[in-house]
Point group: C2
């Protein structure tokens, strides 16, 4: 069946250009944050393109946008897509490639007159990036929860605006889209995305088959000592939390990642109180972003981090406090769906590699309610969340081919046939 | 001569209370920052007390306040004093004790009808603290330079106000004070101050004879790596400036102070860019406050710090940049003046200890233009720049006795007799 359909590479590249113009930045990137005027403009363009092709357009209460191409049957649809929102200084491909390649799949099937048994839908999830309103992946999270968490309503955007107001305005801006309930049944989900890391490019492999997403924990560690005069306080009188932090971090940087190549340990924030050049700090606070594909390893590493900080604090006459303020369990995508991706790659003669996603994606949340998997394509220098983000045209097109072939494999494998 | 004069301890304690009421904070401290309305009020009170005793009152172009009691001769005066400005959450004694004890010396001599050969003047230096307008010690610095550095004029205060405007308003607020040129000749300078460290209290010694002030260098170290995604970037692809900083600081905390008991090494500020929980930092910047009584050791330690940071940066694939943004050379007070202090302590049967000042003081700047020395008294728990700062009444009075005896020793030793 799939050898009859061909993605239209030129059309896909033109669509990428057209959408990159919405929120374009002078440096060649995109600023199209969630629920912004630019985000609404991108949604409108996608809806207009869809209606022009005779597809149906829906949105749900959190403004997830769905483009439906009906099937022979009327069962739950198979979803393909990604997101249209960007970071404030984001790139042209993060999210947009997966959404527009999915739309290209629908158009290509339409062009070739290929019917599928089950309905196929493109989805553009709301606020994947989380840069304007935190957390990210709100659309897919609410979809999997079948509800919008009440605490999101009053969130203030980093660029102004209240979440519930901006959501309402976004929904209103697309009256052509019919409303749907939150979290309707689906057969499965596939998402094409840029890797946001360097490994496919370095190994010169066009397609990554993502078998899971590593788990994440965010910790905040505070070490409390005693503020004192930098000039008058001799070493034996110091209770310096900076000394404790340096000791703990040196130990952790030397052990966590070097001893476990699947672990990721990052300290991205570090604050000092009172922050005077000539004062021994009263306290230091830093964050830890810890990731691992194995939940047991996350437990073990978190315990190691907490203990190492406590020991270092103790040795410096300080106290350490730790709290976990965010957690996402690791996800494994199902073998049956991954097998469809393997067959698709073979059929399209695309070299692949099985890989783990280091970043979270909407697919992580969708995987809680349906079979889900992801396809990665290389991006230059692994660069993402950056205006210089770039994907080779050939890689964008190969990704769309892989997405179409995988989708057709999946709908025939998961369907009633 | 000096056995005829007695300081009036009760009067001194009352003056300390009266001045502590100006800018008093609810927690029992003082907020009387330089050139503020409260600072002007304290200057006015001191000037009124002085005029009531028949002393003359002067100010110079940077609003250093001088209270003059004439001598038999008309040569350059001998100065005693400190400062009246405080930190925003400062204590009742830092600066005020030295200024009011100096005024008590003048009053006691007046009460006892003791004439000195050379004129004696109390000084309250402008902006010692540097908390509202930086740098600190502006008054004594300008006095020793015989000029106000032009770049100070446009400084903005941390609580509002432009330096030149606030200086002008402060001068205008005390029209009774006659104007004097900047940096007139003086015979010498003595300053009583609280230790701001714990050693006198721990050793139960009422008086410290300060033989010098350690040198200070402030360095800013920036380590530049590459921002990257915390989840997708494997260890071998990381150029993490936080790793480099932890390594460098661990090494420096383990060597600088442990290997040289006179060295002081403090990291009081630490900033991360971009400061996202889930981003490997692009750069980290921290400050180093380095102190040592020996200039050669400062050179050696600064070189060690710069090299250690450069090596750690290099090992992490990062670059390090260092700049020195403040420097104060060590000061040694002259033996002849210190001998006067020794004699005074013996005469007053006060136990003393020779010590180095870890903090800078106005005496450091005055020592560039005249013989200067300092007297320390204990403060509770070594606490200072804190509303809980406290000096035992007996220690305040002992400090004033020591100041008077030392002053009389100095004026007879340095004078023409």
């Amino acid at each position: 069946m799939s050898d009859q359909a061909q993605v239209n590479g030129e059309r896909l590249l033109k669509r990428l250009d057209d959408f990159a113009a919405i929120g374009a930045t002078p440096a060649g990137g995109v600023n199209r944050q969630a629920l912004s005027v630019e985000d609404r403009e991108a949604r409108r363009l996608l809806a207009e393109l869809a209606l022009a092709r005779g597809f149906q357009v829906f949105q749900d209460p959190i403004a997830n946008l769905f483009i439906r191409r009906g099937g022979r049957g009327d069962g739950p649809p198979f979803l393909i897509g990604s997101h249209l929102d960007s970071q404030p200084t984001g790139g042209r491909f993060d999210g947009a490639l997966g959404t527009l390649a999915a739309f290209e799949v629908l158009e290509s099937l339409e062009d070739a007159g290929i019917e599928t048994e089950m309905p196929l839908e493109v989805v553009a999830w709301t606020n994947e990036e989380g840069s304007r309103f935190s957390p990210g992946c709100m659309g897919s999270m609410a979809f999997s929860l079948k509800a919008i968490p009440a605490e999101w309503n009053d969130l203030r955007g980093s660029t102004g605006g209240i979440f519930s107001d901006e959501l309402h305005a976004t929904l209103e801006a697309l009256p052509e889209a019919r409303m749907r309930p939150m979290g309707f049944p689906i057969t499965g989900y596939l998402e094409l995305h840029i890797e946001q890391g360097p490994s496919l490019e370095r190994e010169n492999i066009p397609v990554g088959i993502v078998y899971g997403i590593q788990g994440t924990r965010w910790l905040e560690i505070t070490i409390i000592g005693q503020a004192s005069h930098a000039g008058t306080t001799a070493l034996s009188f110091r209770r310096d939390p900076m000394t404790a932090a340096a000791t703990a971090l040196k130990t952790l940087f030397d052990t966590v990642m070097p001893q476990d190549e699947l672990a990721r340990f990052t300290v991205g924030r570090f604050a000092v109180e009172p922050g005077s050049v000539n004062a021994i700090p009263a306290s230091v606070t830093f964050t830890v972003d810890l990731r691992h594909p194995d939940a047991g390893s996350l437990d073990m590493l978190e315990a190691l981090i907490v203990k190492t900080c406590a020991n270092a604090a103790d040795s410096a006459g300080c106290d350490a406090r730790s709290r976990r303020f965010f957690e996402m369990s690791p996800a494994s995508f199902p073998d049956a769906l991954l097998a469809c991706l393997d067959r698709a790659a073979k059929e399209q003669t695309l070299a692949t590699k099985r890989m783990l996603s280091g970043a979270f994606h909407d697919a992580l949340f969708v995987s809680h309610v349906a079979p889900a998997a992801m396809i990665f394509v290389p991006c230059r220098d692994g660069l993402s969340h950056n205006e210089a983000e770039y994907v080779e045209p050939a890689h964008s097109i190969a990704g769309a081919r892989m997405l179409m072939a995988s989708t057709l494999q999946a709908v025939s494998s998961l369907g009633p046939e």
